[in-house]
């Protein structure tokens, strides 16, 4: 029982990461109809926003400590972060400790700007081009972004811990009447889940309770006609792109403490996020979110020993297997709209 509850928690947690990434992707892919292979890169850049902020806070000046030696036998250079010098050691340490949550604020303008530039400078010219061309150009862009990050941060993962207070884990089981220490779950992962819920809710609200979503949907189906109705669809597409980039970036920022960011994390998530979006159904935000959680939970269950011992290797393929089954059972995934990317 406890094992199952733990895996449900894991599934929800994984699912929220999948759902968040898929949400951003579906805004561009399912709604604007652009096959965006650079979406993973946006996620990755989000994570590196957290890295960058933490590096900025850690920018240090060096003083020599003659009592210690560095690896070449010279006096050791001791580093003191500027923020500690400027704001005092406590505030400085707090800033450094809280750099990931602070990066949320830091990343939003950056990601929105990246989204705008990307749409205006590049994607705009590709709305009417075949999907294959979109794939090629965004894949090229993804590689370029990735390589830029690599040449600045290296290929190795960069540890980016959560604030001290979120580092422990929470005894969840006690709440449910289990013995202590049976069902514990890391705080930060719970934060991630809550954060994902807020973002997903926010995006839904924005698209449901405003006409924005309807206009963009209409614009994707028939740009020309929407223009005839006096609507500047280009502007809205750009905003949509900025929004999607921000969602991807925020998903990345918050993910940084879960797994140390590295330059190819975007590619690792890319295929998966496409699968999630398509299983959810093209053009459906609820579908993408639902598929994210569904696949997250199934993946968690498939990795249980009890399951693996029955079907060896099931955890390797579960996502794809489920994707195949769902797409065969339902022509347009869980909640796909007719006519979106079916040709």
């Amino acid at each position: 029982m406890d094992a199952i509850i733990l895996q449900i928690l894991n599934g929800l947690d994984k699912g929220s990461a999948y759902a968040l990434i898929a949400l951003g992707l579906t805004l561009i892919f399912g709604t604007l109809g652009v096959v965006n292979f650079a979406h993973g890169a946006l996620f990755m850049i989000g994570a590196f926003c957290a890295v960058t902020l933490s590096k900025l806070f850690n920018l240090s000046f060096e003083t020599l400590d003659p009592t210690k030696k560095d690896f070449l036998g010279n006096p050791l250079k001791v580093k003191t972060p500027y923020v500690q010098e400027w704001f005092g050691p406590d505030v400085g340490a707090w800033l450094i400790d809280w750099s990931v949550p602070l990066a949320i604020l830091f990343s939003i303008p950056i990601m929105v700007a990246i989204g705008f530039v990307m749409e205006r400078g590049l994607i705009k010219h590709f709305y009417k081009r075949p999907h294959a061309d979109q794939i090629l150009v965004t894949f090229g862009l993804a590689i370029v972004l990735q390589e830029i990050i690599k040449s600045n941060f290296g290929a190795n993962p960069v540890p980016t811990p959560a604030p001290e207070v979120f580092r422990g884990s929470f005894d969840f089981g006690v709440l449910l009447g289990f013995d202590p220490n049976v069902i514990i779950y890391p705080y930060w992962r719970m934060v991630y889940f809550a954060f994902a819920a807020v973002i997903i809710g926010g995006v839904f609200a924005f698209l449901q309770f405003t006409t924005f979503g309807m206009v963009v949907r209409a614009g994707m189906a028939d740009r020309a006609t929407v223009g005839l109705l006096g609507i500047n669809i280009d502007k809205r597409f750009t905003i949509m792109f900025g929004l999607a980039a921000a969602v991807a970036g925020l998903a990345g920022v918050m993910y940084a403490p879960i797994n140390s960011p590295n330059y190819h994390m975007g590619m690792d998530f890319l295929v998966l996020s496409f699968v999630v979006v398509v299983v959810g159904g093209m053009g459906s935000l609820p579908g993408a979110v639902a598929a994210g959680f569904l696949l997250g939970i199934l993946e968690s269950f498939a990795s249980m020993n009890e399951v693996k011992s029955v079907i060896p290797g099931i955890d390797q393929i579960i996502i794809y297997l489920v994707a195949i089954v769902i797409l065969l059972a339902r022509p347009r995934g869980l909640m796909g709209r007719k006519g979106v990317m079916e040709d």
């Binding site: 189906a221 223009g227 053009g283």
Partner: protein, 251 residues
């Protein structure tokens, strides 16, 4: 035959344009093919102009050019609407300036219900008729308001397309074959509606294959052939000129 409009006064059409809507030396291309070949004509405020011609004459292309759609591309010429330079605008700006186009394929937006199709028209200013008023005019649409627009029958779609144009506060209504696919009773209805619209002071350009019907309604007529204006004059004149009718309208 009427005298061709006089543009000799020079470029500053904003001041001198003799009419409400002026199209002046307009040329337009689809890619490499030269479709609209130096067209000029005027429409006066509040009148109905019948734009006639054979299949492929360039009627649709002319309307699309005026509405500033991406295709065909206008490469030369000027279009003025009530002292506003349409030729410098994008299609959404032209729409905000008062152009309303009912396209020949109706362009009902897939994925949206009837009502959403109408709401969409009222997002950008200026807003025209209210939804209630539109449903009064087309009760059939009121009954189907929650149905997806593209599943409407052909005639219902045509009504929706016209209603959608009226949902915006337009100065000029461009109608591309509005009677097509409509039952004769409905055609009568629409004709009545067009008269109502005319009474409201809205200027209309009507493209129609059923030339007789169109001419009976229209004040003036322009006839196109292979992308050029071959006639510009009063509607009555066409009806009475058998040669013209035979050569360009086959009636």
């Amino acid at each position: 035959m009427n005298v061709k409009p006089d543009f000799s006064k020079g470029h500053n059409l904003a001041e001198t344009a003799p009419a409400f809507l002026s199209v002046w030396n307009m040329e337009a291309y689809y890619g490499e093919s030269y479709i609209v070949q130096n067209i000029s004509f005027n429409v006066h405020e509040g009148e109905i102009l019948a734009l006639l011609g054979r299949n492929g004459a360039g009627k649709t292309s002319t309307l699309r050019s005026i509405a500033r759609m991406d295709n065909p591309q206008v490469t030369k010429g000027e279009i003025w609407l009530d002292h506003q330079p349409l030729h410098k605008m994008k299609s959404y700006e032209a729409a905000q300036a008062g152009i309303g186009l009912v396209p020949e394929d109706r362009s009902i937006i897939p994925g949206l219900t009837v009502e959403e199709n109408l709401q969409l028209a009222q997002i950008a200013p200026p807003v025209g008729w209210s939804l209630d008023r539109l449903y009064d005019l087309f009760p059939r649409l009121g009954e189907r308001r929650k149905q997806e627009g593209v599943t409407l029958s052909g005639g219902e779609q045509q009504m929706l397309a016209i209603a959608r144009a009226l949902a915006r506060d337009i100065k000029v209504l461009l109608l591309d074959e509005p009677y097509e696919g409509l039952a004769p009773v409905i055609v009568d209805e629409i004709e009545k509606t067009l008269r109502i619209i005319k009474e409201q002071g809205i200027t209309t350009i009507l493209v129609e294959q059923n030339a007789v019907r169109a001419l009976e309604l229209a004040d003036r007529s322009v006839i196109l052939d292979t992308g050029s204006v071959v006639f510009d004059g009063s509607a009555k004149e066409v009806l009475s000129n058998a040669e013209l009718r035979a050569e360009y309208l086959a009636i």
